[in-house]
C-alpha cells in the first residue's frame, strides 16, 4: 500500500518533517516495493487551511496512510473523513519511517494534536 510521509526533502533519504499541514514535501512510498515519489506540499504556502491542501495532495497520490507528527484540526478532520490513518512516532529518514511502519513500531494518532496554523512561522 502507499504511505505518505511528511518530509523535509523529496526522496527516501530525506529527514522527516514533523508538521503535516506545512511540511515542505510529501514522499509517497509503496510499502512493498519501496518505490518513492516526492511532491511539494501546497499547504506549505497556505495562510490557513493548510491541512486541507496537504490531505488533498496525499489523497490524490493514492496514499491510504500518512506518517507525520503534528496534525492540526483541518489536517486530522480531512484525513479521518477520507479514511486515511495517521501514524506517529517515526524518526530518522523517510526510508527509516517506512521500515518502522512495516515493523509495526508506529502508533495510530487518535485525534488532532495541535491547534490550527501551529506549523506556521507567523506564530509566536
Amino acid at each position: 500500500m502507499k504511505v505518505a510521509i511528511s518530509s523535509a526533502g523529496k526522496d527516501l533519504t530525506s529527514p522527516i518533517d514533523p508538521r503535516f499541514g506545512r511540511c515542505a514535501y510529501f514522499v509517497i512510498v509503496d510499502t512493498e516495493t519501496m518505490e518513492a515519489q516526492g511532491y511539494e506540499n501546497p499547504g506549505a504556502l497556505a495562510g490557513t487551511g493548510a491541512g486541507v491542501a496537504a490531505a488533498q495532495l496525499v489523497a490524490n497520490g493514492g496514499a491510504e496512510a500518512v506518517i507525520s507528527k503534528v496534525l492540526g484540526p483541518y489536517s486530522f478532520a480531512a484525513l479521518r473523513e477520507g479514511d486515511i490513518t495517521a501514524y506517529t512516532g517515526a524518526s530518522g529518514t523517510v526510508k527509516d519511517a517506512v521500515e518502522q511502519f512495516n515493523n509495526g513500531e508506529l502508533e495510530v494518532l487518535a485525534d488532532a494534536n495541535a491547534e490550527a496554523d501551529a506549523g506556521s512561522k507567523r506564530r509566536g
Binding site: 499547504g43 497556505a46 490557513t48 487551511g49 493548510a50 486541507v52 491542501a53 490531505a55 488533498q56 489523497a59 490524490n60 483541518y74 478532520a77 480531512a78 484525513l79 473523513e81 477520507g82 479514511d83 486515511i84
Partner: protein, 301 residues
C-alpha cells in the same frame, strides 16, 4: 466611481497603525461638516471587526440586517468524486479525500468556482450568515449612520464591509471610518472612495505604518493626505517623509490632555472645543480642492 461635487463625496479615514485616531477624526469631521451641511452627512463605520464610531456619535440604530455569503453544498448522489471542485478552489475550502467530499465554510471565499466547474451540477451555493449591518441616525437625526459587525470566529471581513458600503447614500458626503492596518478590510473600505485621510502619530512606528498605508492607498488608486495626531511628541520623521514625498499634511492635532479627556468622555474634537470645527471644515476644503483637481485632470466634468 462617486461624483466629485461637494454635494456627494466619499472620504475614507484610515491609518497603517492602530490607535492613531481614525475614529476620532472621522466622527469629528462628520459633526463639523454637519454644521455646514446639515442633513447631508453620513458616517459609515467600516471597521466591522471592532466598530467603535457609535461610542462617539451615540446613534439611534434600527434592526440588524443579516449579511450572507454563499458556500457550497454538495449532492453526494450526483457527485462522481472527480475532484474538479477541489482543484479549482484557491482556498482549500472544498476537498475530495478518497470517497469523502468535505467543505470548510469558514475557509470559503464565496467565489463560486467549485459550482461552476462541477461537471454533474452536484454543487449548489447556499447562504451562510457571517455578520450584520445596522443603520440609523446621529446628531438629532441629521447624520445618517451605518455600522456592521462580523460574527466572532469568522475570518473574512470583506463581505460585511461590502454590505455596509452598500448603504452609502450617493447624495450625501460619506465619511468612512476604516479598520486599522493595510490588509483586505482596510483596502475594501478605501477602494472606490474619492480621498483617503491617513491618520498617524509622529513616531518611528507611526511613520513605518504610514508608508504602508500610503502605498496601499496609491495601489487602490485613491489620493491621500495625512493628519498628524499627537503633534508635538516623538520625532520629525513623519513631517520629513511628507515633505520629501509631497504628501499633504491636512491637519495637526496637538498632544493635549484635554483632547484625551474629552475622548474618554465620548466627545469628539468638534464637541470638545468649537474652534476645532473650523479646522476640520478647512481640512475638508483642502480635500475638495484635491478631488476637484484630480477630476479635471482625468477629463471628468
Amino acid at each position: 466611481m462617486s461624483q466629485t461635487s461637494s454635494e456627494s463625496m466619499q472620504i475614507s479615514v484610515a491609518a497603517g497603525k492602530g490607535g492613531t485616531g481614525k475614529t476620532l477624526v472621522a466622527t469629528s469631521l462628520a459633526l463639523a461638516l454637519n454644521d455646514v451641511y446639515p442633513g447631508r452627512i453620513q458616517l459609515i463605520d467600516c471597521d466591522v471587526e471592532e466598530p467603535n464610531a457609535h461610542l462617539l456619535l451615540q446613534p439611534e440604530l434600527g434592526n440588524e440586517e443579516p449579511v450572507f455569503v454563499l458556500v457550497p453544498e454538495v449532492d453526494l448522489e450526483l457527485c462522481t468524486r472527480c475532484g474538479a471542485c477541489a482543484e479549482a478552489c484557491q482556498f482549500s475550502a472544498i476537498a475530495v479525500i478518497r470517497q469523502a467530499v468535505l467543505t470548510f465554510p469558514d475557509l470559503c471565499a464565496g467565489c463560486g468556482a467549485c459550482a461552476y466547474v462541477c461537471p454533474t451540477g452536484a454543487i449548489t451555493e447556499v447562504q451562510r450568515q457571517v455578520g450584520t449591518t445596522r443603520t440609523g441616525t446621529a446628531a438629532s437625526g441629521e447624520i445618517s449612520f451605518v455600522t456592521g459587525y462580523l460574527n466572532v470566529g469568522d475570518q473574512r471581513a470583506t463581505p460585511v464591509t461590502g454590505a455596509v458600503k452598500e448603504q452609502i447614500d450617493p447624495n450625501r458626503i460619506a465619511i468612512l471610518d476604516a479598520p486599522p492596518g493595510t490588509a483586505c478590510p482596510m483596502q475594501e473600505t478605501v477602494e472606490g472612495t474619492d480621498y483617503c485621510i491617513l491618520v498617524t502619530e509622529p513616531t518611528p512606528f507611526g511613520l513605518s505604518n504610514l508608508r504602508d498605508a500610503v502605498e496601499t492607498s496609491r495601489r487602490v488608486g485613491v489620493p491621500c493626505g495625512v493628519v498628524i495626531n499627537r503633534h508635538g511628541v516623538g520625532t520629525s520623521g513623519v513631517e520629513d517623509y511628507c515633505a520629501a514625498t509631497g504628501l499633504q499634511v491636512l491637519l495637526r492635532i496637538p498632544q493635549r490632555r484635554e483632547i484625551a479627556e474629552a475622548y474618554s468622555r465620548g466627545e469628539t474634537l468638534a464637541e470638545a472645543r468649537p474652534e476645532w470645527r473650523d479646522d476640520l471644515v478647512g481640512m475638508y476644503g483642502k480635500i475638495e480642492d484635491v478631488v476637484a483637481r484630480a477630476a479635471t485632470e482625468e477629463g471628468v466634468s
